[in-house]
C-alpha cells in the first residue's frame, strides 16, 4: 500500500494547479481548429529552418502540402545547430520575420518561451492525442525523438563480441578501436535510468579506451561503416542510414535506450504561425510522424504507428520529460561539459 504524505499531496495539488492553469491559459489564448485552418488559408505557406538533408526535408513538406492542399509554398532553409538559435533569436528580437516552426531541445525551447518568442496552440483541438509527455505545454509538442544505439562493424565485431550491454561497449578489449561523438550527451540522457554515478563511471571507462572522437554523428557512423573503428554508440538514425547503404554494420539496441526528445514550437514573429501549428500537429499525429521518420530516419517514439515505436516496444527507455529537462537544464549542461572533458582526457 502506498502511503501518501503531505509532500505527495502538495505535489499533486501543484501539478493540478499548473495543469488547470495551462488548460485555462490554452483556452484563453489558443485558437480553435477551424480558426487555425481558416487563418492558414490566408497565409503564404511555411518556412522551416533546420539541419536535415534538404531533399528529405522537402519531401516531408511536400507530404504536408498533400495533407493541406491550400498551403501554397513551403521552404526549407538548412541552418546548422550552431547558427540556428542565434539566427532565430536575432530575427525575433528584430521583429521578424523568422522561421515559422522550430524543432529543438526542450531547454532551448523553454528559453525562447521565456523571452516571449513563442505562440501557444491547442494541440488537442488539432487532432493530436495529447499526453503529458507528447504535449507537455501549449507552446511545445514532441516532434520527434533521437534514440541512441550501438553500431558495430561486422568484419571486426563478430559472434560473442557483439555487445549486449553498455558495459560491453566499454570493455577494455576495444582499446583504440572505438569512437564517440565529441559531445557526451549520451551519458546525460542515460542518467534517468541508471543514475548519475553509473553514468559517470561509464563515461570514465569509455574515456580510458581513448575513443576516436568525431564532430558529428554521421561521420562517426561512417567511420564504423568503413572499418576505421570497430564499434560506437551513435544516433539511431545515423546507424539506420549506414544499414540502408549496405555497409558491413550491425545495429544493436541496448537497454536502457536513451531517447532524447526534440520538441516543435511556433514562433511569434513568423509570417505563417497557423500553417506552422498545422504542421506541428501533423507531425504529432501518425500520418505526419510516419512521413517524418520515413525521410529523416528519426521517428517519434510517442506516436503510435512509427517504426521506432515498434522497434523500441518492450525495451527499457531512458529520457527526461520536458518538465525535467527544463528544471535541470543547467545541471545537465554542466554534466555534459564534465563528461565531454572526461572523454577528451581532461
Amino acid at each position: 500500500m502506498t502511503i501518501y504524505n503531505r509532500r505527495h499531496i502538495l505535489h499533486a495539488l501543484a501539478a493540478a494547479t499548473a495543469l488547470s492553469g495551462t488548460v485555462t491559459h490554452a483556452r484563453a489564448s489558443a485558437p480553435s481548429r477551424e480558426e487555425v485552418i481558416d487563418a492558414a488559408k490566408s497565409e503564404s505557406g511555411l518556412v522551416w529552418y533546420d539541419h536535415y538533408d534538404a531533399g528529405a526535408a522537402r519531401s516531408i513538406l511536400e507530404n504536408f502540402q498533400r495533407a493541406y492542399p491550400f498551403v501554397k509554398k513551403v521552404d526549407f532553409i538548412d541552418v546548422p545547430s550552431a547558427q540556428k538559435t542565434a539566427k532565430v533569436v536575432q530575427e525575433s528580437m528584430a521583429g521578424g520575420p523568422t522561421t515559422d516552426v522550430l524543432l529543438h531541445g526542450t531547454a532551448v525551447t523553454e528559453s525562447l518561451h521565456q523571452r516571449g518568442f513563442l505562440l501557444e496552440t491547442d494541440w488537442a483541438a488539432l487532432g493530436v492525442a495529447t499526453s503529458p509527455v507528447l504535449t507537455p505545454s501549449p507552446y511545445m509538442i514532441v516532434a520527434t525523438t533521437a534514440p541512441y544505439a550501438a553500431l558495430c562493424n561486422t568484419s571486426l565485431v563478430k559472434g560473442a563480441d557483439v555487445p549486449q550491454s553498455w558495459s560491453d561497449m566499454v570493455d577494455p578489449k576495444w582499446q583504440g578501436r572505438t569512437g564517440h561523438w565529441m559531445r557526451a550527451a549520451f551519458f546525460v540522457e542515460i542518467i534517468p535510468a541508471i543514475g548519475e554515478s553509473a553514468a559517470r563511471d561509464l563515461a570514465k571507462r569509455l574515456a580510458a579506451l581513448r575513443p576516436r572522437l568525431f564532430d558529428g554523428q554521421f561521420p562517426l557512423a561512417e567511420a564504423v561503416g568503413s572499418g576505421e573503428i570497430a564499434l560506437a554508440i551513435t544516433a539511431y538514425d545515423s546507424a539506420v542510414r549506414m544499414v540502408e547503404k549496405s555497409a558491413p554494420v550491425k545495429l544493436v539496441l541496448i537497454d536502457p535506450t536513451p531517447v532524447p526528445l526534440i520538441v516543435g514550437s511556433v514562433l511569434k514573429y513568423s509570417k505563417n504561425p497557423n500553417t506552422a501549428r498545422l504542421f506541428l500537429a501533423w507531425l504529432g499525429r501518425p500520418e505526419g510522424a510516419i512521413m517524418f521518420e520515413k525521410f529523416t530516419k528519426r521517428g517519434n517514439y510517442f506516436v503510435d504507428g512509427t517504426e521506432i515505436s515498434k522497434v523500441l516496444k518492450g525495451h527499457k527507455l531512458s529520457y527526461y520529460t520536458a518538465a525535467e529537462s527544463i528544471a535541470q537544464a543547467s545541471k545537465q549542461n554542466a554534466l555534459e561539459t564534465e563528461f565531454s572533458r572526461t572523454l577528451t582526457g581532461r
Binding site: D78, G95, L213, R346
Partner: protein, 592 residues
Amino acid sequence: MSARSSVDPSPMPRRTDRRGRTAVLPPRIDHALRTPRLIAGIVGGLLVLLTVVPLALLLVGSFRPDGLPLAAGWTFAHYIDVWGSAYDWWLVVNTLIFAGGSTCLAVGIATALSWLLERTDLPGRGLFRAMILMPMATPPLLLAIGWALVLAPRIGIVSVAVQPLIGPIDRWFNIYGMPGAIFVQTLAYVPTSVLMLSPAIRALDPALEEAAVVAGANRWQVMRRVGLPILRPALLSVVTILMIVGMLAFDVPAVIAIPGHVNLMSIEIFRLMTPPSSFPDYGAAAAMNTVLFAFLIAGLIFYRRTIRHAARFATVSGKGYKPAQVPLGAWRGAAVALMLLYFVLAVLLPFVALLWASVIPYFAGFSLHMLQRASLSAYANLVANSRLREAVINSALIAAATAASLIVLSFLSAWIVLRSKLRRAWLIDVLCMIPLGVPPLMIGIALVVVAFSARFLALYGTIWVIALGHVIVFLPIASRMMQAGLIQISAELEEAAGMAGATLFQTLRRITMPLLSATTIALTIWVLVHSIREFSIAVMLQSGRNSVLSTILYSYWDTGSPERAAALAVLLMIALLALVGILSLTRRRLEI
C-alpha cells in the same frame, strides 16, 4: 621605369580647368579628389560601418547574460568564467602551438616557393604558379577530409598501401593529432601566403642585392640582411593574418584534431555554441574570442613600426630596373621536384581521395569490393538538383561583387595609409584589420541586426547582404595584400606625375593602378575563390532565395551524404582550378 611598364600610353581627351591644368572629370569632382581628407573621410566612414559595428556587437554580446547583443542585462560572468579557468588558458596555449606551427611552416614554404617562382629560372613557372594556387580551390573542410581518407590509420589509401612495408602507419605518423592538424592547416595556408609574398619578392630590386654582393656578402647574408628586411612588411602581414585566422580555424581541427583528442579554442567555441541540452553560450564564446584582439593589436603595433619608414621598402621607383633571375643550375631538378611534391600533397592526393569518396556509397578504403559498388549517382543527384544551379549563379555573383568592392576599398585604404600623409591615416589601417578578430558568426549576427534595422534597403534574404558580409570578412587580407603591393612602389613616380600636371585621379589611374595590376589580379583570385567557399556568413544570412555552394556542400557532409559533398567538392575544385589557372596566366601578362 621598366621597359615592360604597363602604364597606359593612350592619349586622353583634354580639358583645362581654371588653373590651366588638364582634367578628365568635372572640375568640382576633380578638385574634391585632390583632397585626401575627403577620400579618407568617406572611406573611414564606410569602414566604421563595416567593421566597428560587428566589433561593437561582439563586445556588447560578451557582457550580456545570454551573449546576444540586443538582449537585456549586463554581466562580467562570461569573462570571469572563461579567464578564471586554467583549462581555457591551456586551450590558448594549445591553440598558439597549432596556429604558430602552421604559420611558421606555411610562411617558410611559401617564401621558398615564391622565391623559386619569381627570382629563378625555374622551368614552367607559369604552370607552377597556377598549380601552387590550386589548393585554394579546396575548402579546408574537404582538404582535411581528403587527408583523413589518405592517412586514416586503418582505411587510408596510403596507410593500406604502406602497411606491408612499414606496418601500421600510426606508429610513424598519426594524421589524427597536433602534427597532422598543423600539416593539413599548413597546406591550406600556403596559397594565401604565396599570393601575399610573391608580388613583394618579384619587385625586389636586384641592384640592392648586387650592391651587397659587391660589398662582399655571400648569398645567405644577402638574403638575411637585404632581402628579408625589405620583405618585412609583407612577411609581417602574412604572419599576423595567418596567426589570427589559425586561432579561429575550425574546419581542419574538426576533422583532424578532434579525433586525436587535441583541444583548441575554436573547438571549445564550437562546443559552447552547440550544447545538446541548453541555450548556446554565446557570451562565453565572445569572451573567449576577445583574446584574439590582444594578438591583433600586437600584430598591428609591429606592423605600424615596421612600415613607419615606408620609403625604405620601395623597390619600384623612377630608376629603371629589371628583375633578375638566379640560375638554378644543378638545383633545377630539385626545385621542380619540390614544386611537384607540394602539388601532390596539397592538391593531387586529397583530390584523388575525394574523387574516390564521391563514387562510393559510404566512406571506405580502396578495395576491389568497393570498386564494384562505385557509381556516379552522387554526380547525377547534383545535376538534378535545381537549387544547386541557383546556388552556382548566386555564388558567382557574390564573388564578383565582393572582389570588385574589395579592390576599390582596399586600394583606397592602402593609398590613404601609405601615401596621404594624414596624421590619423593609421586609423584606416586599424579599421581594416578589425574584422580579423571577429568570428564570422558574429559578423553574420551583426548583418542580421543591420539588415533588420534598415529594412528600407531590402537587403536581408538577398545575395547582396552575403556579399557585404564577405567584404567585411576578407577586408583585412585584401588591405594587407594591397598595402604590400603599394609599399613597393616609390611615391616619386606619383610625385613626378603630379609635377607633370596630372591630377590625382589621373595619377592613380595611369601610374599607380597599372603598377598594381599584378597585386590586383592576385587579390581577385584570392577573393573569388574564398568567397565561393565561405560558409559561416552565408549560413547565417540564408533565406531560401540566396543559397550558395558552400552551404549546400556543408549540408551534404553534415546530414549524412558525404558522397554528394565529395562530388560537389570535386566539381568545385575543377572549376576553381580552371579559374585560378586562367587568372594566373592573365596576371603573368600584366607583370612589370
